[in-house]
Symmetry: C2
Subunit: 391 residues, 2 copies
């Protein structure tokens, strides 16, 4: 017997973005004058919406007097937020979700990472390849090694094929991180049908939902008939409203699931979590006001204009790029047969642009890098110029 | 094979405080006019310190412009906070802890709940009885059933005896939740010696450290020689500074531990957590300013005056009470041989006072209830009068 959880030793030594930060810092130390632009980690750059700022100041003031002070919040989140979520994110789109199915948390990373705790140790889990590393690493930490990979490459237009074998759980992330590609309503419906037929659970990460532009791309898996019986959905304010530093998100666990995952998630969160900050919950509520919505949409449009510029200019430079139409990510084929990390090094050293090596998201990411549209316009344009100068 | 984690099914149906809330709500529905005072859940009632409010407004303003906006924070927390922690909570007391050993999180509940993930499945874990339910439930969720109980009762003055057998991990919480009792420096040194001798790890929860009054009670386990080689310490701003709704805490994982727990915790947090809110971290930093410290101390003194009144009056009513000298909790023997839940019902129905049944913290808590000093002065005095009227 060993004292530590040996599954941790089977992971790559560091989380992907930790490794990138290490490499960038090392380069900066050697080249202190290099003006490095990050299009790597998916962090936002635009400030919070004025409606959110106003809500935050108001919430801070509430904490200043005993009469309006708030301590521990309700376990599943405040009603003011859960009601706003249900009304705006679901009912307004004709989707039947009730407040009791909504669990407010501190972000989709925590929730998608922790949700696997509710599953049996030997369940068969399917993941796309490339994939957001959190799903993979969280399952490996729990000792699950029987992971079915669903390749997503240019050859299949980044649409994963249904598994030929039975799987118990499928993680799907659409709009996709890292490829920036999407599924149409019809393509997602095939997955819901598969899950219903196989008694499988879909863990659906819709963190980038706000970036969808095209009408045939679903914003929620619950737009698909039958999804209430087989799907859990994760949402986040990080990218929707720039909350990467504020921390708030939510998870929908419908009561129609065949497994009692709502009760189990409730028990898990009540035991090992103490709620998102009251301030963050008030900030999230403000995203749903008329002003909040308009301001947040304008910021999304700003990033999507970056994405458009990146697609256009990279294509005209001769790069092959995917995604970036309904998502803030572009998935770029590496030039001249470079590996992902070779391309990362080349871009860092020659153009001073940080990307994310595709292979960090899985074997099928080899030969690609991920670029994000979350920069400022100025930095995005400068990065594109610096890349053009290297060709 | 089952799809769900069956360990969850072996837990009591709900988290203790969820169950209490359910009972209180049911009573309120039947008796809408009853003026119920909660001395049950350990939530604070006094507002945030003015220095904290000021820091929060300032941090909110930073989020309003692109130049000062903050997105994802550093994985282990911002340096401004980790440096303040090291300087004020450790170096000022002659304790040798460095910033690299400090991991900022969203509270001690999350951290004490999640830390067991780093341990092997079959480690032998010792817990006091009564115990904060999070330690127990988190381990049961992970399938650990070989738990060694360390009884803490009036007979042993609530000081747990060293296990007669080998254990790998010991959870200690001092000042104690729920009993409100403490260990002297000498008593804690015996545990450190035991851990060093047995190659065991002590998970030391010091969430109530700010309430310590007596000089022979250690504020940190690192006051004890050898603790850097065997102990992890959890700290929280929830009770220290009223952050139950703000969410911030930290965990110290020293580099001298024989197991690589720092590296593992870093990997766990980088994968399944995305940091405490920037606002919460700025709020925590303000607790260490001269004004912040003085304001926070005044609030602790306010609660401790509640504790003194409760001890004095309950004793004069003939109740036998423990704790409440270096902690915001009083541990009261139930009168007339009542069980904990009978006493809970009696206090709710007759005096309209909510307590926490001791048995909810373990078998050795049967025959006790926990009362908190976190009420307002007015409510605390009223609760005491209502109890006196029932006798």
């Amino acid at each position: 017997m060993t004292l530590i959880n040996e599954n941790f030793l089977k992971l790559s030594e560091s989380y992907l973005f930790t490794e990138i930060a290490r490499k960038v810092n090392a380069y900066k130390e050697e080249n202190p004058k290099a003006d490095i632009i990050s299009l790597g980690i998916g962090d936002v750059t635009q400030p919070l919406a004025p409606a959110v700022i106003e809500a935050l100041h108001k919430a801070v003031n509430e904490m200043a007097t005993a009469a309006s002070f708030r301590g521990y919040g309700p376990e599943r989140g405040y009603d003011f937020l859960r009601d706003a979520i249900v009304e705006n994110d679901f009912r307004a789109h004709g989707i039947d979700i009730v407040a009791d199915e909504v669990f407010v948390g501190d972000g989709a990373k925590s929730d998608t990472g922790n949700f696997q705790e509710l599953l049996g140790k030997d369940v068969v889990i399917a993941l796309t390849d490339p994939v957001y590393p959190v799903y993979m690493d969280a399952n490996r930490m729990a000792g699950r090694t029987a992971l079915v990979k669903l390749p997503c490459t240019a050859e299949n237009d980044f649409v994963p094929e249904l598994p030929g074998e039975h799987v118990d759980v499928v993680y799907l992330c659409y709009p996709n991180n890292p490829t920036g590609t999407t599924l149409t309503r019809g393509q997602l419906a095939q997955w819901v049908d598969y899950a219903l037929e196989q008694d499988a659970i879909i863990l659906y990460d819709a963190a980038y939902e706000a970036y969808i532009q095209r009408r045939d791309v679903p914003h929620s898996i619950y737009e698909i008939p039958g999804a209430r019986e087989c799907a859990v959905e994760f949402r986040s304010y990080s990218k929707t409203a720039g909350f990467t530093g504020i921390r708030c998100g939510y998870t929908v666990v419908p009561k129609d699931l065949k497994l009692p995952l709502g009760a189990l998630w409730s028990r898990r969160q009540a035991t090992k979590f103490n709620g998102a900050s009251y301030l963050s919950q008030r900030a999230a509520e403000a995203v749903y006001t008329a002003e909040g919505r308009a301001q947040v949409r304008a910021t999304v449009a700003y990033y999507m204009e970056n994405a458009r510029l990146m697609r256009e200019r990279l294509t005209s430079m001769g790069f092959k790029v995917y995604g970036g139409i309904d998502a803030p990510y572009l998935w770029m084929q590496t030039p001249a047969g470079m590996t992902s990390w070779e391309c990362f090094d080349w871009m860092l050293r020659s153009a001073h642009v940080v990307c994310t090596p595709g292979v960090g998201f899985g074997c099928c990411g080899e030969g690609y890098v991920r670029l994000t549209a979350f920069g400022t316009r100025e930095n995005t344009e400068r990065a594109l110029r610096q890349m053009a100068n290297q060709l």
